[in-house]
């Protein structure tokens, strides 16, 4: 089983995240980043599949030099090798361009050893659009089974459980396929010290757009179908209203809730 997991290096959600005022893209330079927590589930799921049988997990990321940390963490968890696509021209790319770069990279990864399964998180924790998995499947011509909270790979097919609001669905796709997973699917492992040591010896390939045969004009801010025109910081939260209970606290509370249309 040859599995590719797409991972993203994102600004730490615990930190103060902002936009870069020069071009209104996400500020990645002035904030600590990490492997998107939603992608940890994808890495974990891929590892469980190969550990139960056999195969190799390749983690793929598109991002600046610092994104190497997302690959490193995945390798520490147990992935076998990494591919890092880094090219200045990619800066500011939208989901459409990102999916193009990922698709070309996956084709290149599969050139010698065909890819059986592509696993992604359900969305990134920064952009949070959740559209890249389906765009990627479209570009690769793969069946996409998304938002899996359970995944079983058996011979030539992948079966997922998808929990909807009104029903639970079981969906099967023939391999090769793309699966996106939710944060309900597993409990991602922590790396171990042994994993940290082992990761240092694992191969990581660095590819540019030229290596993928992607023209710089197809990606980046200028090629983006959408862009952030302006941004305004949310005003700081104002102090709450303190209601003193003088025997009519309940009424005042009800009046407050009614007045603000909470009830």
């Amino acid at each position: 089983m040859n599995i590719v997991v797409c991972v993203k290096y994102v600004p730490d959600a615990q930190a103060e995240r902002t936009f870069d005022s020069s071009d209104n893209t996400t500020d990645r330079a002035n904030v600590d980043g990490l492997l998107s927590e939603l992608d940890e589930y994808a890495v974990e799921e891929a590892l469980q599949i190969v550990e139960a049988g056999e195969g190799e997990v390749t983690v793929l990321t598109v991002g600046p030099a610092s994104a190497a940390d997302a690959i490193k963490k995945s390798l520490q968890m147990g992935a076998h090798r990494g591919v890092h696509v880094d090219d200045d021209a990619i800066h500011g790319s939208d989901a459409i361009a990102t999916s193009l770069v990922l698709a070309e990279a996956i084709k290149k990864i599969g050139a010698d050893n065909p890819v059986d399964l592509v696993v992604t998180g359900m969305a990134s924790t920064d952009g949070a659009m959740g559209v890249v998995p389906t765009m990627l499947a479209e570009r690769l011509g793969l069946p996409a089974v998304t938002l899996a909270s359970e995944l079983e790979v058996d011979g030539g097919s992948a079966t997922i459980r998808r929990d909807g609001d009104t029903s639970t669905q079981s969906i099967t796709a023939t391999l090769p396929a793309l699966v996106s997973v939710t944060d309900q699917i597993n409990e991602p492992r922590y790396p171990s010290f042994k994993g940290i040591m082992a990761a240092k010896k694992k191969p990581v390939e660095h590819w540019s757009l030229a290596d993928l045969g992607v023209d710089a004009s197809q990606v980046g801010l200028d090629a983006a179908w959408t862009r952030v025109e302006t941004f305004t910081a949310r005003p700081p939260r104002s102090q709450g209203e303190i209601v003193n209970d003088e025997g009519d606290g309940g009424q005042k509370l009800a009046a407050f809730l009614g007045e603000h249309k909470f009830v």
């Binding site: 171990s192 010290f193 042994k194």
Partner: protein, 420 residues
Amino acid sequence: MPPIVLYLYVNVKYAPQAQRHEFEDTMFELSQDHEDLRALVRDFAEREVAPNIAKWDAAAYFPTDLVPKMGDLGLFGLVVPEELGGTAGEGGSDFTSLCVAIEELGRVDQSIGITLSAGVGLGINPILTYGNDEQKQRFLPDLVAGRALAGFGLTEPDGGSDAAASRTRATLEGDEWVINGSKAFITNSGTEITSVVTVTARTGTNADGSPQLSAILIPAGTPGLTVEPAYHKLGWHVSDTHGLSFDNCRVPAANLLGEPGQGFKQFLKTLDDGRIAISALALGCARACLELATDHAKTRVAFGRPIGANQGVSFQLADVEVMVEASRALTYKAAWLKDEHQAGRRSVGEVKQAAAVAKLYSTEAAVAATRIATQVFGGNGFMEEYPVARFYRDAKILEIGEGTSEIQRMVIARGLGLPA
């Protein structure tokens, strides 16, 4: 994140005369491996410990399930060789890395930090250092994996700092040791997964009349061993601490750990390592206080501005920053010396002195840092909802355990060549 590089140019005046290196340049740094381990332990502590710790602390609950998770991370095996399940010698797997792990756990909670520190330093280390192959094979794999914990029974109710004045006796009857006496304040000795306690006991008298001490392995559940109810402690509520009593407790003669009569020497060495680990724990405590109090001083508004705008507050936090930096430098210098000693490049005297210096400074700094942090939080700092209150309670024992501040000053003064 670039590795933190500590360049320390020291005129080593503290080392005993014999080991003094005048105007010697000492440089040490934490490697990328150490920093990777730090990131791992920090993430683990913030996700697995931080959300639960207030609840555990209030209930004085020992989270048994957390121990195998720490084992999975490899934290108990950092100083243990590969054949026994550890990683020692691999990359940055050394005593320094253990200190990094203790510091990061201690930054989130001191009880969890001491559980690791004691688990390795007092539980694993004596068996690893002095045990024979059979003893190592019997106990270490489970201890390294976090499936079991071990305690070290040294302190006695009437003993304390005067550790040689042991009243617990072990007499050889046939092929069994018969142990009678009691021990006090023994960490990790009464958990559900405690497998063994190493106990020091009088096994005879030396020619000069001083007691001959030996260390004996007493497996949990041995008849005659009573684990007393957990202590009600000021702090370290989540750490497992019990008194132990021995009433004709019998174990095979083969349970002797190391050489007979060498118990005193053996535990002194154990304590030297432990002091560096406690210094790392104290560093974690001071860092937590610095981070918590600085955040609070930036956001808490009084009289129309953040309280950190007042020098009465900001200068105190500046002092804590100095304490943290000094504590970090002393801790990792001592840890580095210990690793260098292990590699045969530094003398035991240098380690002993550096350990005492680090332990004394870092623990007293940690107590001061908790006092300042609690004050910065005002009334809230006295409330258990705020972690600084827990750190305030937890810090005091740092100045007492593994050698009181007074004992450290004694050791340091002797290291200066002053008459004992």
